[in-house]
Symmetry: C2
Subunit: 227 residues, 2 copies
């Protein structure tokens, strides 16, 4: 059953009369299928079935920001999980080219970088890095650890950048070893990469958010007009 502990490697070796690496590999099979999770110093446990979070584009509606909810909070309330954010780091730096292009920055412009990890019921499900032009964010709550009710987007609107629309670029791939660790993914679990750009009503890109989601935990929903 979910949460149950598997026999330890030592027990498996004894019981099946195999070498440790053989027992480990059997466990590795289960891990790569995502059926069990290893915790160092504790044991190997049968995975909790992954609850799927449906992310509708509705999560960026202004009324949510006005109600003091950031996007992850909207999903938490809707899906009924307990949200948490950790590994928060805020800095000012020169952005990667990919980001620079999307923000239409010249060669010189720095950005405020907000990196964090999102957890649902204690389980890491997403990492996100936001980039806001320093010319917009400097001295605002966007550089504070806690951006306040409604998150970055609410603060951007208070700074006079009324949001008009977002674009999201969605792709999927296997995670790097680092990413796998940070999202506590087992082998063989892919990630979705969502690169979101926020535009204000003047058409200026005011934020780019680079997110990495544990693929099994998410379904993204989008609405497309037939025009």
């Amino acid at each position: 059953m979910a949460g149950d502990k598997l026999p330890s490697e030592a027990q498996l070796m004894k019981h099946y009369e195999v070498a440790r690496m053989t027992a480990r590999q059997a466990i590795q099979e289960l891990r790569s299928e995502g059926r069990v999770v290893a915790e160092q110093g504790r044991g190997v446990f049968v995975s909790q079935p992954v609850q799927v979070r449906r992310l509708a584009s509705e999560r960026f509606a202004r009324r949510h920001r006005e109600a003091g909810l950031a996007a992850f909070g909207v999903e938490a309330e809707k899906t009924g999980f307990t949200p948490r954010v950790d590994q928060l780091e805020v800095s000012t730096a020169s952005p990667p080219d990919e980001i620079r292009d999307r923000l239409r920055l010249g060669d010189g412009g720095d950005v405020v970088v907000r990196s964090r990890r999102y957890l649902a019921d204690g389980q890491p499900v997403e990492t996100a890095v936001s980039y806001v032009p320093a010319s917009i964010a400097a001295g605002s709550p966007i550089v504070a650890d806690d951006t306040g009710p409604g998150g970055i987007y609410a603060r951007l609107e208070e700074l006079g950048h009324e949001l008009d629309h977002f674009t999201e670029e969605v792709s999927a791939r296997m995670p790097t070893a680092d990413e796998r660790r940070r999202l506590q993914l087992t082998d063989g679990v892919p990630v979705m990469v969502v690169l979101r750009t926020a535009y204000d009503t003047t058409g200026r890109p005011v934020e780019v958010c680079d997110t990495l989601k544990a693929a099994p935990a998410y379904v993204l929903e989008y609405d497309i007009p037939a025009r």
Copy 2:
């Protein structure tokens, strides 16, 4: 470079003065990221990069249908690849529950099923299965092998179902062995699943399309209003 052969395990052991299992594990990291592919008896090779196709939601604009282009044709023209469709199968059947729900069919309603595979420059990149209620499609060009200029959506509009909008549900996972064969994927390459539902102006769902895309070949672009 792509296609290049990595040093063999024996060479790595000698060069870095490590045990074989250590060299193997380093290679395993790269394999799980899909960056290299191991072939028994031959060696380990750098994966071929797949050309990325950006799929903007714009591909469903009515003007394209009126110009006689289906969505895949729009992308082909924009990206400059040669499109091809094969493995086409058309039938009438009782749909899976997942589809039945989205089409809001009663227990009895059959659907026309159009299954096909898309190739770009000869390389399989996507499989798709469309489901249209038989009550709509029966006797129309939708059941023909060639649906004609503008594809299914153009025919649906001619049948009086003017399209209003689509929803797309995007997820990612590892392919099954069958799916891997059909898309000619190597080990460790994930797929994106896009389930699209088309609604007419009366709010009725008139088609569901279940697509499977080779993840490395695609970036999906969506536009989200801030409202």
